[in-house]
């Protein structure tokens, strides 16, 4: 499997990092991305990304409680692993390096 962190996977990792571990399950993760980026997110695409990240050892998960509000289905809580955190830092570093020195991106917001 490619060791490359895709755009959406990076967003998912950042959303997990922004949430407390107890809150880091599917619904809040999708909501966090939607509110931050303003783009609509399919719940299944969040899980698909989380599965890929878990396969690479960049997030880990545990089964949480099941409630009547969820039709008796358990939540699955995620957290970013040390390895995942390192990947996020590397991605940020690479993006910042690419960002620097581009005249068109300096100064304004457009």
């Amino acid at each position: 499997m490619a060791d490359y962190l895709k755009d959406f996977e990076l967003l998912v990792l950042l959303a997990v990092l922004r949430l407390d571990e107890d809150d880091a399950y599917g619904v809040p993760i999708a909501t966090e991305i939607e509110q931050t980026t303003g783009r609509s997110v399919a719940q299944a695409s969040v899980y698909a990304a989380l599965e890929r990240l878990e396969d690479r050892g960049w997030v880990s998960s545990r089964v949480g409680e099941s409630t009547a509000q969820r039709g008796g289905r358990a939540k699955r809580h995620f957290r970013v692993t040390t390895q995942g955190l390192r990947r996020v830092r590397e991605a940020k570093g690479a993006l910042v390096k690419m960002w620097n020195g581009i005249r068109e991106l300096q100064g304004g917001t457009t």
Partner: protein
């Protein structure tokens, strides 16, 4: 539950055919949001997207399984349909009677292929269903495009072929897949939410 339950068919589809590892958590999330005020249309859209995403992942991660499932599904369904309808054709004279005999036979042939694929290739059901619809569409398109042939086919027979291709076969495969998944004591019916 504070209002009507979410669409049960959609829930059943996702339970039976959805992503193996995450279907329980995903369903819980969808139900939670539905209970929070999301519409039935939203729920159905999320389920369909989940099935499409799951099928795409199946193609990428298990190509051979996917090809094998499509071949087994299509060949089983087409062979059963051909043999049963050929046999029935000896006893059926009119088009009206043909509808009552051929359509159920086509449905049960497709359902049998869906059941077999669900049991033999548990992770590729959505893919087979999509492929079935795709192949049926290509066949129907070919019938339309090949005008000399369609000129020779009487209108009632053409509509029978189209009904089988676009409605009966996909519904049959789906029904067979769901039938095959009920009571199947495997990873699909017992969620593996592998906590690490």
């Amino acid at each position: 539950m504070n209002r009507n339950n979410p669409p049960s068919l959609a829930t059943r589809l996702l339970e039976s055919l959805g992503p193996q590892r995450t279907s329980e958590a995903l369903l819980g999330d969808l139900i939670e949001q539905y209970e929070g005020g999301r519409s039935r249309t939203w729920y159905w859209r999320q389920v369909i997207l989940a099935l499409v995403i799951s099928a795409g992942r199946e193609v990428r991660t298990s190509k051979l399984q996917a090809v094998s499932a499509i071949l087994v599904g299509y060949l089983t369904g087409a062979s059963l349909c051909y043999f049963t309808t050929s046999l029935a054709a000896r006893f059926v004279g009119s088009y009206t009677a043909a509808y009552f005999v051929f359509l159920p036979l086509a449905f049960f042939s497709a359902a049998a292929s869906g059941w077999i694929v669900r049991r033999s290739h548990p992770r590729t059901m959505v893919l087979v269903f999509s492929a079935f619809c795709g192949v049926a569409s290509v066949v129907a398109l070919a019938v339309y495009v090949w005008l000399p042939l369609s000129d020779r086919i009487p209108a009632p027979m053409l509509s029978l072929i189209l009904a089988v291709d676009f409605i009966i076969a996909p519904l049959g495969v789906l029904a067979g897949g769901l039938w095959g998944s009920s009571g199947a004591n495997d990873a699909w019916s017992s969620p593996r939410l592998g906590a690490r």
